[in-house]
Symmetry: D2
Subunit: 286 residues, 4 copies
Amino acid sequence: MKSVVFLIQCPDRKGLVASISTFFYQRGFNMLNCQQYTDTLKNQYFMRVKLDLESLGSSRKALEEAFGNFAKEYQLNWSVHYSDNIQRMGILVTKASHCLYDLLLRWKEGELKCEIPVIISNHPVLETVADQFKIPFHCLPVTTDTKQRQEEEVARLLKLYHIDLIVLARYMQILSKEFVEAHEGQIINIHHAFLPAFQGANPYQRAYERGVKMIGATAHYATAELDEGPIIEQDVERVSHEDSPEELSRIGRDIERIVLARAVKAHLEHRIILSGRRTVVFAGGL
Amino acid sequence: MKSVVFLIQCPDRKGLVASISTFFYQRGFNMLNCQQYTDTLKNQYFMRVKLDLESLGSSRKALEEAFGNFAKEYQLNWSVHYSDNIQRMGILVTKASHCLYDLLLRWKEGELKCEIPVIISNHPVLETVADQFKIPFHCLPVTTDTKQRQEEEVARLLKLYHIDLIVLARYMQILSKEFVEAHEGQIINIHHAFLPAFQGANPYQRAYERGVKMIGATAHYATAELDEGPIIEQDVERVSHEDSPEELSRIGRDIERIVLARAVKAHLEHRIILSGRRTVVFAGGL
Amino acid sequence: MKSVVFLIQCPDRKGLVASISTFFYQRGFNMLNCQQYTDTLKNQYFMRVKLDLESLGSSRKALEEAFGNFAKEYQLNWSVHYSDNIQRMGILVTKASHCLYDLLLRWKEGELKCEIPVIISNHPVLETVADQFKIPFHCLPVTTDTKQRQEEEVARLLKLYHIDLIVLARYMQILSKEFVEAHEGQIINIHHAFLPAFQGANPYQRAYERGVKMIGATAHYATAELDEGPIIEQDVERVSHEDSPEELSRIGRDIERIVLARAVKAHLEHRIILSGRRTVVFAGGL
Amino acid sequence: MKSVVFLIQCPDRKGLVASISTFFYQRGFNMLNCQQYTDTLKNQYFMRVKLDLESLGSSRKALEEAFGNFAKEYQLNWSVHYSDNIQRMGILVTKASHCLYDLLLRWKEGELKCEIPVIISNHPVLETVADQFKIPFHCLPVTTDTKQRQEEEVARLLKLYHIDLIVLARYMQILSKEFVEAHEGQIINIHHAFLPAFQGANPYQRAYERGVKMIGATAHYATAELDEGPIIEQDVERVSHEDSPEELSRIGRDIERIVLARAVKAHLEHRIILSGRRTVVFAGGL
């Protein structure tokens, strides 16, 4: 079934639900789902509406024009997403295979509705994984001297392949401020710690030294500040004094996999609205 | 801030959100929160609307009459709940104090917005707890012979104290079909197992013997079939082969406490709609 | 580092730790790890000792003979497992790929220390997965008429490939009493529910109908009674009224994957001792 | 049943288990439980032995002397704890009642085996709670000027009541370096965040602003560095964008309660050995 999702954000005021739902009702839409959230501290209203596209009585352009006019009146920030417009996800990796494999399998099983036209790495080791799934693999090694040029080449490839969503699946390179800002809200990173604990390098080793009793992982949108971007999803697992740093790293791989997959799924299903440093993530399966 | 909650259930159809939200908008209401769910398998629509009562421009009776007429047209099943109409919770216990104490503390800390005018037990041991919180305690012992009379006396007391919600906080008596059906949707029971596993007696002992690796608890509405009522909330905790039945029972107490408290809170906040054997439980804090 | 694990089970009595540890100490062994458990209800003692094999001062045969004599005196049930004796795991599947892929990836990443010489299925669809990892794939379709013959062929293949551990990774066939008993303690099955809840077919559909608030998965040794074997590992995930049976099934796949992997890992690392219907599972990473 | 626990820590070497267990075996002890851990990174060995005190064939003094001589030979750090030597726990609070109530109830239900001879607060509000359980309550208000004198009075009271374990159950005062170091390993604090995230003040507010998807609590031994002491126990709960700082605080109370209770229980049962910044916490129920 084809559907269309509207994501809406605006200052809260009386009658928003009534006005917006009436807009769609008058155009004959069958509303499949409607999720809302009011941030009473900032007086902001957030809405995700999913409509049956079969009931669209006009061209998409006409719908967008009409809603655009309506939105101006109500000061809505909005975006529209058609289910038949399949998003294109590019995956950046280094050496660790677990997140890459996990994304590829979920994609193959139909759990992640997207295309994966390219995998880019600064290291050759995961080429065989890309081959297993018949996806073009570009190896762009990087040194301190070539950092900028390599990143430009990454950007060029992402453009060439028409990538909508960039997933850093344990890509062990820090991206430049320019790169990150040019792709705002389009880069999802997985950090192998329960942020804001253990930002930066070697989180499992530091978790071991601090003697924590649970370890975690965090998926977030990349911003210019390292590991400071809006959090999309987190999870943890219990550990004990018996677990060595290597064991923490092994346990952590399962958390990273699942947390990254949930975040990517939420993004692809247009269930996330950014609100400053916070994310509104509407429940899934809807 | 005073508020009013409408709980609505009806066959799904186009325009429901628009019509209902417009009804309230036209009457000048500020909608504080609106939660929805469509059961696509049964084509049923569920809605919880919370409105600012300060914006009520008529009498409550007039509002209800107007909504009643509107509801007839749309075949809505509905109920209305005013925040200043404090519910009265009666607690039934036997000997175990942990759930009783937990409810009393949450009530005292303001987490459970209700009155607790009476505690009834078939055993005298928890009278001192009731005394600590200055709540009338009625001890109604029961034998096979007096079962029916005792239950009638329980019912009489619940009526006398104008009880809206009956909580079985580890009340170790099976209630009659008549009693349960007379209080449909008004009795919450805590079962010390992860239903439908280990229905009936001695769940911790049976969990031990079966060698499960997690134990749980389940809060549900009581129905005539024992431990078969609609589930409101469940949770579990990891255990190991080292945990004896007594240890399982101790670990279980913490799960029982939290699961029962969450269920009672959801009920008191009018976040639950019954749908056959299932419950729709809207998210809290809203 | 090469190591050897002794698994020991016997009636509890004074001096067991002293006697057993002295046995190994006198033979110059460096004890890497020692885990114990006393079942006080059944008066049974369980021990897992891991020794540095480099410190073995005799032949393995001589060690086993000496320990055998010692064991007779103390009535020990015991088994010995050398780390350089790599176990051979055969995987049985039907159509679902998620558990199969998960096992293969963990094996490839070195998390599961074993060989996987064969994959057997009653359906051809997962042949391509086996091919990706260059593992022989045998398709043995089955009908009511051919059930017995097919199972004999499965048994023949498992023998041919010298399989030590049989993993039913969502193999949708019920094995005969004869087959199961011939491989006691060597077959691990993953059931897609939190046993003993929802034994048998269609657990996710039944979980939906019962309206549970968490779903789970259970890895257990197969026995003649379906879904009644000793539980090795379980886990759960929170769900809500919004999750359709399909959504439960999708969420469940992640639980199945992780629960099965943990159980297989525990088995391969010789951390499990069977005790009637219960399992003693010693902590991992050791 | 009376028992005695030995906690042992020493450099790892061959034959430790054999030597120690033989020491007890030769003295006729029935070993109820024996838990071990080898920190291979630091080459340290940790052991907890629980013995049936009924089988003690000498005076306690003689046992300790004999073990002391044995320990010197093997360079063991050790301590001995008799089950009939009931520990005395002093609780320090400010205004929040949830952790205090929780400790008192678990104590009353027999879950925490200790005496609670005194509750000290810098604020009068919880006196009624102390009264409910008939425990002496000392109110010692504090200002910037009186900070040192107040702390000295706290120390005097703890000494007067022969306190073994000091529990900071949401005591909102920073203790001086002197005080903390004078009670090393005897002060357990509950911090309302998943350390090392959100050290210091207002963790729930900061968790809200950072937009985390889970919140937690941490029980740790107090050290001179605020919120930097060895962690004993942690747990978390899932939250969402819908949860306001107040809601996080409410959800967090349940985590704080349980985490603190588990840590206090582990301490009272002599299951914790300090190892630098880390804790070895042996499993419970044994």
